[in-house]
């Protein structure tokens, strides 16, 4: 049970990563590898600040701002200096590796016996439960601490989803979506496409850094390596979400990305439980994304063949 709740909580935290990838990958069709660096910069910044005695809430906000700066840098490299999007992301991600080491001063910052957002929500949960250690949920025994972090992760995710949804429906957000859809059209309607890309990547990486900050506080450490392969996990979540709910409408796609992230985490937990070597996890993720990207095309092709055969 603890394992399941843990997987759900990490899934919700990583659903913020999925939302960030959704913005860059789906709205702008921009494969933004900065994600790998910005999730680590989020973890590194929040962990270092907390260890330095900063309250976890401002530490998390500053971590988000660091991600915003990283995303804006990628955007500027791409839009202003006309560097290929993939390369712009690689440059910033690589630079962030050194920056993260500088922020942390070492490659790993443990948060044991520090006050984090996780310990704080656990404390709130325990006090609300009146000191009880466990709560019974449909016959399952659930530790109060696990239940409260799960609830908090859920609240944060829902809030970010709502804000993102509303933002994408504003004048600015609509223009941003149109920039990814048809830059020529939106330029003719007076929108500075370069600025939109920079702003979009800033928001995307801000959300991803927030995800990193929450992840570090939940798992109790930040590591300079924590971002490796995260873009692929984000992609897997977005693709899985689209398979679950389709792509009709912004609200559905956002919900799908969250569902995809949680489901993906559950699949990973189950696979590990069944004996998948953790070393193979990234390989399995990459293969999963490959298959998920290829299968729809293959299905469409065989579908056409079948229809063609029926006509012949």
């Amino acid at each position: 049970m603890t394992l399941l709740v843990g997987a759900l909580t990490i899934g919700l935290i990583l659903s913020l990563l999925a939302l960030g990838v959704f913005i860059s990958f789906r709205i702008f069709a921009f494969p933004d590898i900065t994600a790998d660096g910005s999730i680590a910069v989020g973890g590194a910044t929040s962990a270092s600040l907390i260890v330095a005695g900063v309250d976890p809430i401002p530490a998390t906000i500053l971590a988000t701002l660091a991600g915003i700066a990283a995303g804006a840098t990628t955007g500027i490299l791409h839009a202003r200096f006309k560097i290929h999007g993939l390369l712009a992301g690689i440059l910033v991600m690589t630079a962030l590796y050194s920056i993260n080491l500088h922020i942390m001063g070492k490659s790993n910052v443990p948060l044991i016996s520090q006050q984090t957002l996780a310990t704080r929500t656990e404390a709130i949960g325990v006090s609300l439960a009146g000191g009880a250690e466990t709560v019974s949920l449909w016959g399952w025994e659930l530790r109060i601490r696990d239940a409260s972090t799960l609830t908090a992760a859920w609240i944060v995710t829902v809030m970010i989803c709502l804000i993102l949804y509303i933002f994408l429906k504003t004048n600015l957000g609509t223009a941003m979506r149109a920039t990814g859809d048809n830059p020529q059209m939106i330029r003719a309607l007076g929108v500075n496409v370069d600025n939109m890309i920079i702003l979009g990547l800033a928001i995307s990486n801000g959300i991803i850094a927030l995800s990193g900050a929450l992840l570090a506080q939940y798992q109790g450490f930040a590591d300079v390596q924590m971002g490796i392969g995260m873009i692929v996990i984000g992609l897997a979540s977005v693709i899985l979400g689209e398979a679950l709910v389709g792509r009709a409408g912004i609200g559905l796609t956002i919900t799908g990305a969250v569902m995809g992230a949680v489901l993906f985490r559950l699949i990973v937990a189950i696979a590990l439980q069944w004996g998948l070597d953790p070393n193979d996890l990234k390989l399995a993720t990459a293969v999963f994304v490959f298959v998920a990207l290829v299968i729809p095309h293959m299905l469409a092709r065989t579908g056409r063949k079948l229809i063609g055969a029926a006509h012949a």
Binding site: N171, L172, A188, L189, V193
Partner: protein, 270 residues
């Protein structure tokens, strides 16, 4: 309204593929004038339109719109003056977004876009009303993505969007060329209605001699990056399709003469 002086543009300069798209174009368009531009393929008509819209910068020359020197303005800044309909119906609308969202984007052409919700009930009703007047039955489909519509429907909406906020200058770039004859006719009628109703200063590039003769109060013919004839007033009213075809034929023969003459000379002397 529009003043272009000595506009020159060469694509791929200093390479074997250099294209001299505009070679010193001068054009002054009065307010309320409706100018048709015709010309052979590669004559520079679309380049002229793009140069006005700011898709690229000119090599030399200047562009003024309504008294402002916009020569060095980027495209998105010029958009506050210009409404535009493209040849490809897919270019003027964002396929993945709904009809209402597309229109809302056009409503803020040339204005700042803030954090206010793009759509509200009043706006929806206004959009519904104006879309209904297109008589395409699209007013009940405002929440359908625009990618599900036909080329003609999308072009009608693009026209509506380009003129929703009255533009100082309307640019139509062969906007019926990619449509079937029936849709093309509808779009021409709609264009004429809107231009006459709002007395819009318009420049329309077209392939159709018929359109060039029937529409507008001024006709410009381009060839090899230059304006070679300019009919206005009574001349424009009198001109007939076959006269235009004759002029085209003459231009074409002149071109051939150049080539065959060069060949002749080459055979004799090289």
């Amino acid at each position: 309204m529009l003043e272009i002086y000595n506009a020159c543009k060469t694509f791929n300069p200093r390479t074997p593929n250099a294209v001299f798209a505009l070679q010193g174009v001068n054009l002054i368009v009065e307010p309320g004038s409706f100018v048709c531009v015709i010309g052979t393929n590669g004559s520079g008509k679309s380049t002229l339109l793009n140069a006005i819209a700011g898709t690229f910068g000119l090599d030399t020359g200047s562009v003024r719109i309504d008294g402002s020197d916009v020569t060095h303005w980027p495209e998105h800044r010029r958009a506050s003056f210009i409404g535009r309909v493209f040849q490809n119906p897919f270019t003027g609308t964002a396929a993945g977004m709904t009809i209402a969202e597309n229109i809302v984007l056009a409503l803020r052409r040339g204005q700042s876009r803030g954090l206010r919700l793009a759509l509200n009930r009043n706006l929806r009703n206004e959009i519904k009303g104006r879309v209904r007047r297109l008589n395409l039955g699209l007013e009940e489909r405002l929440d359908d993505s625009i990618g599900t519509l036909s080329g003609g429907q999308r072009q009608a909406l693009t026209l509506l969007m380009a003129t929703w906020i009255k533009p100082r200058l309307l640019l139509l770039d062969e906007h019926t060329a990619a449509l079937d004859p029936k849709s093309a006719k509808q779009i021409v009628t709609l264009s004429r209605e809107i231009i006459e109703r709002d007395n819009l200063t318009t420049i329309m590039v077209t392939h159709s001699m018929q359109q060039a003769v029937q529409l507008g109060d001024r006709l410009i013919m381009m060839h090899q990056g230059r304006i070679i004839s300019d009919y206005r007033g009574e001349d424009k009213k009198r001109i007939l399709t076959n006269e235009l075809n004759e002029t085209f034929e003459m231009v074409r023969r002149l071109d051939q003469l150049d080539e065959s003459a060069a060949e002749l000379l080459a055979r004799s002397y090289v």
